[in-house]
């Protein structure tokens, strides 16, 4: 019951935030809509017992990534006059029509087909997926240790790449 209530409220907040990202003319409003979505998804993680991932979501996404977005928006200025004119006038209608077809197809499949969202799902209350730090760290440092080291390397490369991009023009000039 509590979960259903949380799902409805947070699901709506998430969707409203997502729509705000797309339709807002001011990029700052888009960033705030993204914040609403990220926080809503984080609470949905908590509802689903993914505690560590929810904390990481708030710290990394809502904390670091969104701050970075806002910094860049402030840095390059709020570009109000995004042109709404279409260089390829029929493109929008084609994409819209295709979207409707795909939605109807997928929705019909989900509703009327013999469709299972997650095959072999257990309906009992989960115990093994209580996502504490210990529970996530176990597989992370045993089964996935190679991928973990690879992401460490990836982060180093990303940081070095960002610094290189920031210095690129200065060296050239």
């Amino acid at each position: 019951m509590v979960e259903a209530l949380l799902f409805v409220v947070l699901g709506l907040a998430t969707l409203v935030g997502a729509v705000t990202v797309v339709v807002a003319r001011n990029p700052v409003h888009s960033a705030l809509g993204l914040l609403a979505t990220l926080l809503g998804v984080a609470v949905l993680y908590v509802v689903q017992l993914a505690h560590l991932v929810a904390a990481v979501q708030v710290i990394v996404y809502a904390g670091a990534v969104l701050t970075l977005f806002l910094f860049v928006i402030m840095l390059i200025g709020v570009d109000e006059d995004e042109s709404r004119e279409e260089a390829l006038p029929y493109q929008r209608w084609i994409v819209g029509g295709l979207s409707v077809v795909i939605i109807l197809f997928a929705g019909g499949l989900a509703l009327f087909g013999n469709f299972e969202w997650v095959p072999a799902a257990t309906s009992s209350l989960p115990s093994a997926t209580n996502g504490t730090v210990e529970a996530v760290a176990g597989p992370l440092f045993t089964d996935w240790v190679l991928a973990f080291e690879a992401t460490a390397l990836l982060l180093t490369i990303a940081a070095a790449g960002a610094i290189a991009l920031a210095h690129y023009r200065r060296r050239e000039a």
Binding site: A18, L38, V41, L44, A50, V53, P126, A158
Partner: protein, 100 residues
């Protein structure tokens, strides 16, 4: 307990909104935010299926996706800023330097 189908539907709606925004918007920053939306939708499906299957590996996968997304944002925003320094615009329609 909310059925996993509802979470999957929510994630599908989020992904769809993100994809539509990516197609319709020209501002590179907003397009980037739409990519983040789509990544979050996928993360939500992984968490929900991991819970439905009683498998912790879904959460581990989300952990990796978060790290990769953070790295992607760092490099992507650096590219946007360096493009803005040259072009004074964040609109992707005006970028044609790579045209053959």
């Amino acid at each position: 307990m909310v059925d996993v189908a509802w979470y999957m539907s929510l994630a599908g709606a989020l992904f769809f909104i993100g994809a539509v925004g990516l197609l319709l918007r020209r501002n590179a920053l907003v397009m980037f935010m739409c990519i983040e939306l789509m990544l979050n939708a996928v993360n939500l499906t992984l968490i929900s299926t991991g819970r439905a299957l009683n498998d912790i590996n879904g959460q581990v996968a989300v952990f990796f996706i978060l790290v990769v997304a953070a790295a992607e944002v760092v490099v992507g925003l650096a590219i946007i800023v360096s493009i803005f320094r040259i072009r004074s615009s964040a609109s992707v329609d005006e970028l044609s330097e790579l045209r053959g």
